[in-house]
Amino acid sequence: MTDRATTTTTTVSVRARGGDGRLPGAWALGLRRGALEIRQFFRQRDQVVFTFSFPVVFLFLFASIFHDDVQGSGVTASQLYVPAMMASGIMSTSFQSLGISIAVERDEKALRRLRGTPMPAAAYFLGKIWLVLFTGVLETAILLAVGTTLYDVPLPTSAARWLDFAWIFVLGLTGCALLGIAISSVPRSAKSASSVVVLPFLVLQFISGVYISVDSVPGWMLDLGALFPLKWLCQGLRGVFLPDSAKVLEQAGDWEFGRIALVLAAWCVGGLALCLLTFRWKTRRDG
């Protein structure tokens, strides 16, 4: 008797329902997913420490080893490494971390589970963009703090330069993030994900002027690098944080802000199309 009474009460009470009866919008769900992604990210201590310290350690190593004046440019090698490592940090928080983490989520079948709910795909992608915006801003702020205090990189003084910084950051980060979502479909399993993602990222850093200054990288390598967003992200950040006298180091002898905007915007659009066309919710062996 008691059992029966309890069951009946539960049956009635679990029917309580929320919601307004309409399917929630992708934008609002994207915000919720973003908040959840950020919370999950910061609960994984190793990942947080690794992600944020990697570019800082590299900046410290390169900028401390190479610190001479660069001929006729009015800047030191250390100063060149500050925007370079900021660009690298933006790409590692977006391209590298998404490329690996989404491959892992797919392998663990967390994506398949989401696909079984009415959550729109756009909300998932938006959530990832919010996550990388958040971590990217933090990473960039840390590198900027180190660069200005240790290596005498001046902060921009004009509002126009800060504005340039803002759009270069957002376009570069978004483009790299979409490229990261796209490459996450390449690895066959979570185990191979980091190799598949890290190798192209390493190569790009060599041919885009991150580790080696653009005036030392062979022209054909730079041309290859110019097909991807990292080279333009580096160039834009040099334009923001270095004096105009350093333009002499550039391939074109100029910062080329217009072309940077064009290439990065093209990567945002093309990367989105690539994601929508190639994104898999299941691994290959799940069919």
């Binding site: 929320g18 399917l23 919720r32 959840l36 999950q40 398949r112 009415p118």
Partner: protein
């Protein structure tokens, strides 16, 4: 809400005709017909590799099919819209939920995906995870994770719940608790399709069941009716005066017993007359019958 009415007046939640699916040279599903009525618990029973999971994945909209017509809640799952997905709950076979989040955070978050979700706190209570509500998912035991899977499957208040081998790896007590949960959901009117290779589970839960073997339905009906239809005959066991145990399989057990009564004076030692169990029927139909 538009369903298919059968000739017998049942409204079908799931209607499958001539379903086929091949993986390379292997035919996983070889022409299956299924009709699952609204509000019933339907068991899909069969050994590993019989095509159960493939069938359920096609019904979920997570796998393509090679041939056949499939209607789930009036729509083709292959082209299921968001609105359709909000009416179908899925409990996966081997699933991972976000390890770093707590049970409460996850259930609350999933509720936001649906137009008319159940109350997250009550769903956590329904699956018996109140005590673990603030624990990270990575700290849950296997059974607790499965209960979380069920919570995420029902949070959207689905009309149809698809469960693929939900109790694999459960201890007997956890399985009983899980059965109670399924019965509770069924009492509320949820149509439930569950696959299992545990016969007692199908018998305990299912209003009707289909037995699959080699990608085909070899029997379908109420458990009792299946037993009556396929489990003909009986086994009569007794002990001879010299102590040897005898068993005779017969269509006419009463006649056998009458014969024994004439031979023995009084009690027949060790007499036992047994009808085939559903398990015997199942093993025979799926070609796994053991030699007795």
């Amino acid at each position: 809400m538009i369903g298919v009415m059968t000739a017998h007046g049942y409204e079908l939640a799931v209607d499958v005709r001539g379903l086929r699916k091949r993986y390379g040279d292997v035919t996983a599903v070889d022409g299956i017909d299924l009709g699952i009525r609204r509000g019933e618990v339907f068991g899909l029973l069969g050994p590993n590799g019989a095509g159960k999971s493939t069938t359920v994945e096609i019904l979920q909209g997570n796998r393509s099919r090679d041939a056949g017509e499939v209607s789930v809640l009036g729509a083709d799952p292959a082209t299921g819209t968001r609105a359709w997905r909000s009416r179908v709950g899925i409990v996966w076979q081997d699933e991972s939920a976000p390890a770093e989040l707590t049970v409460r955070e996850t259930v609350r978050h999933f509720a936001h995906y649906y137009p008319r979700p159940r109350d997250p706190e009550q769903v956590i209570g329904l699956v018996g995870l109140e005590a673990k509500a603030d624990s990270r998912i990575k700290s849950l035991s296997g059974g607790q994770r499965r209960r979380l899977d069920v919570a995420l499957g029902v949070i959207g208040d689905p009309e149809l719940l698809l469960l693929d081998e939900p109790t694999t790896g459960f201890d007997p007590a956890a399985r009983r608790r899980f059965w109670d949960l399924i019965r509770l959901l069924a009492d509320e009117g949820t149509t439930i399709l569950l696959t299992t290779h545990y016969l007692e589970e199908a018998e305990a839960l299912a209003d009707r069941l289909a037995i699959l073997a080699g990608g085909r339905v070899v029997a379908e009906g109420e458990p009792q009716a299946l037993r009556d239809r396929f489990g003909t005959g009986a086994a009569v066991e007794w002990t001879e005066p010299d102590g040897t145990a005898r068993t005779e399989h017969t269509e006419t057990p009463t006649r056998t017993v009458a014969g024994l009564m004439r031979r023995f004076d009084g009690e027949i030692p060790g007499l036992r007359v047994s009808r085939p169990t559903l398990e015997d029927v199942y093993l025979r139909l799926t070609g796994q019958e053991t030699v007795r």
